[in-house]
C-alpha cells in the first residue's frame, strides 16, 4: 500500500467534504450549535417558569380556619399565598388548577394544643402532586406550619424550665472530601460516555454514505476504480476521512458542551452555580484512547454497509438499524447497577461506555482498560478488513 496514494485520496475527500454544505452542517455546525442552543432553550424556559412561579401568588383555601385562628392568620400573611374565603369543592378546584392547595384544620385545634398537649393534632394539606404551582404553595404552607409548631415546642420546653438547645444534644455536619474533578466526574461519567459514543457514530455516518453510496449515485465510483490506485489505498483514504469527521464532530460537541455547561450559571443566575467542569488531562486522554478504536469500528462498518447500497437513501435505511444497535449498549453508563466485569469488558460499545464512566469518576481499572482497548482494537481490525473486502467485491460495487 502506498501512503502517498492514501494521502492523495484523503486530501481530495477532505477538499470535497469541506465544500459540501451537508457535510459541513452535520460535522461542524450541528455539533457546535446543538448543545448551546439546547441548553439556552432549556435554561430560558426553566428561568421563565421558576420566575413566574415564585412571583405569582398561589391560591389557597382554608377549611375550618376558625379552629386555628392564629395559624390561619399566619398563612394569610404569607406574601406568596392568596387565601380565598370560599372553600367549597376544594378537591375539584385543585384538580381544575383554579386552586393550588387547601389546608384543613382539625376541630378545636388551637384549643386542644393548649389544653391537651399529649394529643397531637393533624393539619391536612391537599395538593396536586408534582404540579409546580401546587408544590410551591404546599412548600410555603409547610414552612409557616413548621415555624408555628417550633414556636409551640419552644414555649412548652421553656415552661418546663428547659432551653430549646436541650432538644439538640448534637448536630451532624456533612463535608465534601471529593475533589471538584471527582464530583463533576460522577455526573459526567453518567451521561458523557453515551453522548461520546453516539456522536462518534453519527459524525461518521454522513461522510461514510457520501463517499460510498453517494459516489455510486453520482457515477464517480467507476471513474475512481478505473484509476491505477489499489483498492486498499482507496478504502484507507476514505476510511481516514470518515474517522476524521467522526472525531472532529465528537471533539467539537464535547468542547461546545463543556463551554455551555460553564456558561449556564453566568447566563442564568437563577440556576445552580455549583457545577464546575473539571476533567483531568489524564482522564480525557484515557477516554480518547479508548474511543479511538471504537470510532475506527464505526467508520469502517458504516463505510462497508453503505457501500452495499445503490444510493444515498438506501444507505440511510441500511445504517439506521446500526444506530439502535449502538444506542442500547451505549446506555450502559446511565443504568445504575451495571458494573464492569471480565465478560462485559468484551462486549463492544458497552465496555467502552462502562470504563469511560469509571475513568471520568477518577477510577482507573487498568486490567479492564487493557482488555477493552485490546478487544476494541481487534474489532477495529476486523471491521477494516471487512470494509476492504467489500471494496473488492464486484457484487457489492456493481450490485450484479
Amino acid at each position: 500500500m502506498s501512503l502517498r496514494n492514501v494521502g492523495i485520496i484523503y486530501r481530495k475527500e477532505l477538499t470535497d467534504s469541506l465544500r459540501d454544505r451537508r457535510t459541513l452542517i452535520s460535522s461542524i455546525v450541528v455539533p457546535i450549535l446543538s448543545f448551546p442552543l439546547l441548553m439556552l432553550a432549556i435554561g430560558a424556559i426553566a428561568v421563565f417558569v421558576i420566575t413566574k412561579t415564585t412571583q405569582q401568588q398561589q391560591v389557597v383555601a382554608l377549611i375550618h380556619a376558625e379552629q386555628a385562628p392564629d395559624l390561619a392568620q399566619r398563612i394569610r400573611r404569607e406574601r406568596n399565598l392568596r387565601v380565598v374565603g370560599d372553600a367549597e369543592n376544594y378537591i375539584q378546584r385543585i384538580n381544575d388548577k383554579s386552586l393550588q392547595a387547601a389546608v384543613e384544620f382539625p376541630t378545636g385545634m388551637e384549643e386542644k394544643i393548649r389544653t391537651s398537649p399529649e394529643e397531637p393534632q393533624t393539619v391536612k394539606i391537599y395538593v396536586y402532586e408534582d404540579e409546580l404551582r401546587s408544590s410551591t404553595a404546599a412548600r410555603a404552607i409547610e414552612s409557616v406550619v413548621r415555624q408555628y409548631r417550633d414556636e409551640i415546642v419552644t414555649q412548652r420546653i421553656s415552661s418546663r424550665g428547659l432551653e430549646a438547645r436541650a432538644l439538640q444534644p448534637f448536630k451532624t455536619e456533612k463535608q465534601n472530601v471529593a475533589s471538584a474533578e471527582k464530583v463533576t466526574g460522577n455526573v459526567l461519567g453518567f451521561i458523557l460516555p453515551y453522548f461520546i459514543i453516539i456522536l462518534c457514530l453519527t459524525g461518521a455516518m454522513y461522510p461514510a454514505i457520501d463517499m460510498t453510496a453517494g459516489e455510486k449515485e453520482r457515477g464517480t465510483m467507476e471513474t475512481i476504480l478505473a484509476s491505477p490506485i489499489g483498492r486498499g489505498e482507496l478504502v484507507f483514504g476514505k476510511f481516514l476521512l470518515t474517522l476524521t469527521a467522526s472525531l472532529v464532530t465528537t471533539a467539537l460537541s464535547i468542547i461546545s458542551l463543556g463551554l455551555t455547561v460553564m456558561a449556564v450559571p453566568f447566563l442564568f443566575s437563577q440556576l445552580s452555580k455549583k457545577f464546575v467542569v473539571a476533567v483531568s488531562i489524564k482522564a480525557a486522554a484515557a477516554v480518547f484512547f479508548l474511543i479511538l478504536p471504537l470510532a475506527i469500528v464505526f467508520a469502517a462498518v458504516m463505510m462497508a454497509l453503505a457501500l452495499r447500497a445503490r444510493n444515498y437513501r438506501e444507505a440511510q435505511s441500511l445504517l439506521a438499524p446500526l444506530l439502535f444497535l449502538v444506542i442500547l449498549p451505549a446506555l450502559a453508563s446511565m443504568v445504575p447497577g451495571i458494573e464492569l466485569n471480565p465478560r462485559l469488558a468484551l462486549v463492544p460499545v458497552m465496555n467502552v461506555s462502562l470504563v469511560a464512566k469509571e475513568i471520568l469518576a477518577g477510577q482507573y481499572p487498568w486490567p479492564f482498560i487493557g482488555i477493552i482497548f485490546g478487544s476494541t482494537c481487534v474489532y477495529a481490525a476486523a471491521a477494516l478488513f471487512y470494509a476492504r473486502r467489500q471494496f473488492e467485491s464486484e457484487e457489492v460495487l456493481f450490485r450484479i
Binding site: I8, D20, A226, P228
Partner: protein
C-alpha cells in the same frame, strides 16, 4: 496493444441463476488502430471493456493490455489505460483543474510534470475558460472535455471508450469522435463500444459484432461487406445477430 484471450465473465443472479455475460471473447487491437465493439444493449460490450480496464475480473481467460496481464497485473494495466464511459462521471465539487490534477497524481506524476501536462491539455482542448469552475457548474460539453482531459493526463498508450457518445448532443458527440480519431493519429491503441452503426462505420479499422456475450463476427468494414454480401453495416449487423435468434 490489446489482446483478449478467451475472456469469460459469469454472474450469479438471484432470479436468473448463472448469467454468462461474456463467453470466450478473443480479439486483437494494434497501436494506431481503432477496434469497434458493436452490439445491442446487454450484448456484453460494457462487461468486456470493464474487464479490459480491470474494473471487473474475468471468470476465466485473460487479456494483455499494453503488455500487462489484466488478471495478474491489474494496477499496471490501469496505469496504461485511459477509460471513458458515460458511467465515469466527474467529482462535482472539484474544479475542472482539480479533477484532472487529482487523476494525474493518482497516476504518479510529480508536481512539475503534472503542471506542465495540465497546462498543455487545457490549451489543446481549449478549456482555459472554465479551468477554475466546479464540475457541477459545467455544461455537458465542458464536462466531456474534462473527462477527456482526465483520461489524457498520463498520456496512456491504450484508450478504452464505452459508448462515449450516448445521450450527448450532436456537437458534443462530434468532439468525442474527433478526440477518438486524434488518439489513433497519435498511435494509441483504441477500443470503443457502440450501438450506433454510423459511428462504427466512420471510425473503426476493425469491427467486432458481439451478441449474447459472444463475438459473432469480426473484420474490417470491407471484409464484413464482402463476407456477408451486404453494403450497409446495419444490414450486416442484423444478419449476424439474426442468424443467432
Amino acid at each position: 496493444m490489446i489482446e483478449s484471450l478467451q475472456l469469460c465473465k459469469q454472474f450469479q443472479d438471484k432470479k436468473r441463476g448463472v448469467v454468462r455475460a461474456v463467453e470466450s471473447v478473443s480479439f486483437r487491437c494494434q497501436p494506431g488502430q481503432i477496434y469497434g465493439l458493436l452490439g445491442a444493449n446487454g450484448a456484453g460490450k460494457t462487461t468486456t471493456l470493464r474487464m479490459l480496464a480491470t474494473i471487473l475480473k474475468p471468470t476465466s481467460g485473460t487479456a494483455k493490455v499494453a503488455g500487462h496481464d489484466v488478471v495478474t497485473e491489474p494496477q499496471k494495466v490501469r496505469a496504461s489505460v485511459g477509460f471513458l464511459s458515460t458511467a465515469t462521471a466527474l467529482y462535482g465539487r472539484l474544479t475542472a483543474q482539480e479533477m484532472v490534477e487529482y487523476f494525474g497524481r493518482l497516476h504518479g506524476l510529480d508536481e512539475g510534470t503534472l503542471k506542465k501536462r495540465v497546462d498543455e491539455i487545457f490549451n489543446r482542448l481549449n478549456m482555459k475558460e472554465f479551468r477554475t469552475r466546479a464540475c457541477d457548474k459545467l455544461s455537458t460539453g465542458e464536462k466531456q472535455k474534462v473527462s477527456i482531459a482526465r483520461t489524457l493526463v498520463n498520456d496512456p498508450p491504450v484508450m478504452i471508450f464505452d459508448e462515449p457518445t450516448v445521450g450527448l448532443d450532436v456537437m458534443t458527440a462530434r468532439t468525442i469522435v474527433g478526440f477518438i480519431r486524434e488518439c489513433r493519429q497519435r498511435g494509441k491503441t483504441v477500443i470503443f463500444s457502440t450501438h450506433v452503426m454510423s459511428e462504427a462505420e466512420k471510425l473503426c479499422d476493425t469491427i467486432g459484432i458481439i451478441h449474447n456475450g459472444r463475438l459473432m463476427a469480426e473484420g474490417t468494414l470491407a471484409a464484413l461487406r464482402t463476407q456477408h454480401n451486404l453494403e450497409d453495416l446495419e444490414d450486416i449487423f442484423v444478419q449476424v445477430v439474426g442468424d443467432q435468434k
